[in-house]
């Protein structure tokens, strides 16, 4: 096995940020997680197909890295997308994609395993497979080539990459990775003879989808059917779900990079899943149910993580961290613990919009109260009911009042535009909210400012909005202009995402297998790093669509009908199609839906079909009240299918919950 370092090092003097390519993160030093190779160990190269700075902190990848390296029969290393300057230098010097741990050629691994967190990285995946010296299409690979697998949220619609990825893992990876290591290890020890055989074996693992084992039929532009070619291949692949986060206190040894990366801090996941039910949010739909980590385990992970890494910042991560049952206690302890130690700052990403949240934030940030971010997502109560982000205006204003009165000067508000049923008054409502927010701020400080950040909405698979026709480029641009004009002369500033990139994301998000060739064309035309404005051009995507004879509007702006076969209909997140459709109709009627963690079950399908339940420590939302949900959360919990942490008693199963 080759150590490519002597060939890599001469390239480093000529590239930007050479430290991206050296590895050496704390946590990888000999004796800890350092990869140990061996002829009987299944070798995984875990790849994040974006820059090192974005990929290194990815917790999913770090969890798998640790789980694999703990095994006696597996080994894992990591790789990231080299920036364009390094890629050019590597190709010129004939240096293939390499691992950052031991600088081993990607082609020497048994598995190339990609994390797919965003659709616009798809062209990078092809580029990295190619840079590894592996044919980009699965059909062209031989047994000497590694198996290419992918996991992450994007795999809930795997079809656009079906020709390029040998196997997808749907859902939580903690358990599935071990089963995959078993299969790959057996394949390796058997001499890696038959590629078809290992793919058939992988397909028997629950949650694993092997696209080459399915036939897709089309009916004109529409998909007619997706059918397994063998009897032992499942017609529908169900997601994997870790039932109890307490069993998985990972990463135990979070990697500490030497260069600055995004989220450069200790990250401790406090719960997984979210049942707020925001209809635009794919993460909230596909990660159900809510599984809280026990409060004591959170404290231990924070304490030991800080001690081991030397970080002075910790983030308590989840999809809505103020909803964690033990949030007040954990925060109070963190604040007490750090007194006199020179200060550890705590951040809660995904803040809820209410004064309670600001109260926690002010506990955490005694100093440096620079900016606070809230996400009302839509400009009017009507539209917020459509998207089920049930924040009443008073919640926002009381949150903002609390923030400015406690010393914050900048408030940032996140919105989506291009939402279903959106009208110009909704867009203008954003300007009105922002103006009211700055007015509140000016009661406290003349420097009060408000930044409005607007993203174009891309409908995602497995959400109630999966049938919605996305707004086109011109319509999004018109709304952004409308908003910019409306805030002119006020103290609010508008930032927006490029509607052209939103359109390309739309092509990839709800595409079927035919979109794969479009992605390949964009890549061949030089379109890597499509998430980066310097690398992006919509024309490349539209040219590729034209060359493949595909109509962009069919894939992006067209409303889907209830009876059509969606390209991802053979992948299951556990949500019943009837539930999603009914929720879509409720959206169009501007009816909200409560959070099933604290209110009776409406049977979306996940808990009942997969025999799962929420794992939460408290039957009511922290601090009670509306919680920025617009809901009455004080009602009885007798019908909520919840297991309360510590009690191991099923509230909905006839037992007594205390």
């Amino acid at each position: 096995m080759s150590d490519l370092w002597p060939r890599i090092e001469p390239l480093l003097a000529r590239v930007e940020k050479p430290a991206r390519y050296i590895g050496m993160e704390m946590g990888t030093e000999p004796g800890s997680l350092a990869p140990r190779h061996g002829s009987s160990r299944a070798a995984f190269l875990l790849i994040y197909p974006d820059t090192y700075e974005i990929g290194l902190p990815n917790q999913g990848l770090q969890i798998l890295y640790e789980l694999l390296n703990e095994r006696e029969d597996a080994v894992a290393e990591r790789a990231y997308a080299p920036w364009t300057d390094m890629e050019a230098a590597m190709r010129a010097a004939r240096v293939p994609l390499f691992s950052v741990d031991t600088h081993r050629a990607a082609g020497d691994f048994d598995v190339l395993a990609f994390n797919l967190s965003a659709e616009l990285v798809y062209t990078n995946l092809l580029n990295l497979v190619d840079l590894a010296g592996v044919p980009v299409r699965g059909a062209d690979r031989s047994p000497s080539h590694p198996v290419v697998i992918a996991g992450g949220h994007c795999t809930y619609n795997p079809e656009p990459l079906a020709e390029y990825v040998d196997a997808f893992v749907i859902g939580d990876g903690e358990e599935a990775i071990g089963e995959i290591a078993d299969v790959v290890g057996a394949w390796k020890r058997g001499g890696r003879a038959n590629r078809e055989a290992v793919l058939r074996d992988l397909a028997t693992i629950p949650g694993v989808y092997v696209p080459s084992l399915y036939d897709v039929e089309y009916d004109g532009p529409a998909v007619r059917s997706v059918t397994p070619r063998y009897a032992d291949v499942p017609a529908v692949v169900d997601k994997r779900t870790v039932a109890d986060l307490a069993d998985w206190p990972y990463p135990k040894h979070q990697l500490v990079p030497l260069v600055e990366v995004v989220h450069d801090r200790l990250n401790v996941e406090i719960f997984r899943g979210c049942t707020r039910g925001c209809r635009f949010c794919q993460a909230g739909m596909i990660t159900r149910p809510v599984r809280e980590r026990p409060e004591e385990q959170v404290r231990t992970m924070v304490r030991e993580g800080l001690r081991r890494t030397g970080y002075d910042e910790v983030a308590l991560t989840s999809l809505s961290s103020a909803d964690f049952s033990g949030i007040e206690g954990v925060v109070a302890d963190l604040v007490t613990d750090q007194e006199g130690t020179g200060g550890v700052s705590v951040s809660l990403p995904s803040l809820r919009v209410d004064a309670f949240t600001v109260g926690i934030a002010s506990e955490l940030q005694k100093v440096r109260r620079s900016g606070l971010t809230f996400a009302p997502e839509a400009g009017t109560w009507r539209l917020r009911q459509v998207i089920n982000k049930l924040i009443i205006e008073d919640d926002l204003y009381s949150a903002v009042d609390a923030a400015y009165s406690q010393g914050w000067r900048r408030v940032k508000l996140y919105f989506l535009t291009g939402l279903p049923t959106e009208m110009d008054e909704d867009t203008l409502g954003i300007a009105q909210l922002a103006t009211n927010v700055t007015d509140i701020g000016r009661k406290y400080t003349k420097q009060a400012s408000c930044t409005v950040s607007v993203g174009g909405f891309v409908p995602k698979p497995h959400t109630p909005f999966q049938w919605f026709g996305q707004n086109g480029v011109d319509e999004l641009q018109r709304k952004i202009t409308l908003l910019r004009n409306a805030v002119r002369g006020t103290r609010a500033h508008v930032k927006w995402h490029d509607p052209k990139a939103t359109f390309a994301e739309g092509i990839a998000s709800r595409g079927d297998r035919r979109i794969g060739r479009v992605i390949e064309r964009v890549w061949r035309a030089g379109g890597t790093f499509q998430e980066w404005s310097e690398g992006f051009s919509l024309d490349r995507w539209l040219d590729a669509m034209r060359a493949e004879g595909l109509d962009p509007d069919w894939f992006v702006t067209r409303h889907r009908t209830r009876d059509e076969v969606l390209p991802w209909s053979h992948i299951a997140a556990g949500l019943h199609a009837d539930f999603l459709w009914d929720d879509w109709q409720a959206a169009l009627a501007a009816h909200g839906l409560p959070d099933c963690r604290w209110t009776p079950c409406y049977d979306c399908g996940v808990c009942t079909d997969y025999a799962l339940e929420h794992v939460v420590a408290s039957p009511v939302a922290p601090a009670g009240g509306s919680q920025g949900t617009g809901q009455d959360l004080t009602r009885s919990v007798a019908d909520v299918p919840v297991r309360f942490l510590g009690s191991k008693v099923h509230a909905g199963g006839g037992g007594a919950a205390s």
Binding site: E9, A19, M24, L258, T309, G310, Y311, G342, R368
Partner: protein
Amino acid sequence: MRGGAANPVRLRYTKLGKIRWISHRDVARALERAFRIARLPLAFSEGFSPRPRVSFGLALSTGHESEAEYVDLVLAEAVDLDALASRLNGGLPEGIDVVGAVALADRAPALQEAVTCVEWRVDVARGDLTEVDPARLREEIDTALAMPALVATRHRKGREVVEDVRPVIRRITVCGGPSAAGLPAVVEMEMSTQPRGAKPGEVLAAIGDLTDVRARRTNQWIERDGARQEPLDADTRPRVPEARVS
């Protein structure tokens, strides 16, 4: 935490091997994390946003190695300086090793001003990375140093600046190769850092079609009143046994 309780300390550390590719700022962050891992009782600045009282010496460019880097810090309480290196090294990446620690006098001059001279050991090649003959290199250097000025193009704050680097150069000696990288030409360079220094590559490029394939800082010197001292020997506080607390 200022005043009587302050314990200024100077550390010497290395930056060797793969780790040379991280920036000076990255090194600073790695050291600050190591201080926290070791639970070093750092003193903090006063004011609205307290910062640990840590001040780094001369910057070392990304890609350069060093056997002699320095950092000054102020501790809120005295610690065992003999045990400090091993206490810190567990939290530092491979290649960055603390190799010395001394108690510093109060109000010792800052490293960035006090250090006046640095020495380098540099593997030299042609601009296109081909080998250069040591004898030929010696001639080129002798010719260049005999000239009244040596003009180098330098990048400063994103701008190209043309400067005379001749005053910076005190000595350049061609040593026998081959170097660790297999190159036949290795030079030792001794250069001033005040009022302004220069990088080995900038000086080599001013001399001729030359570049530094690998550069390692071997020494830093504080020169004062005609004497030359290693920073761990300058401005230090005499070691009094009772001043040492666990």
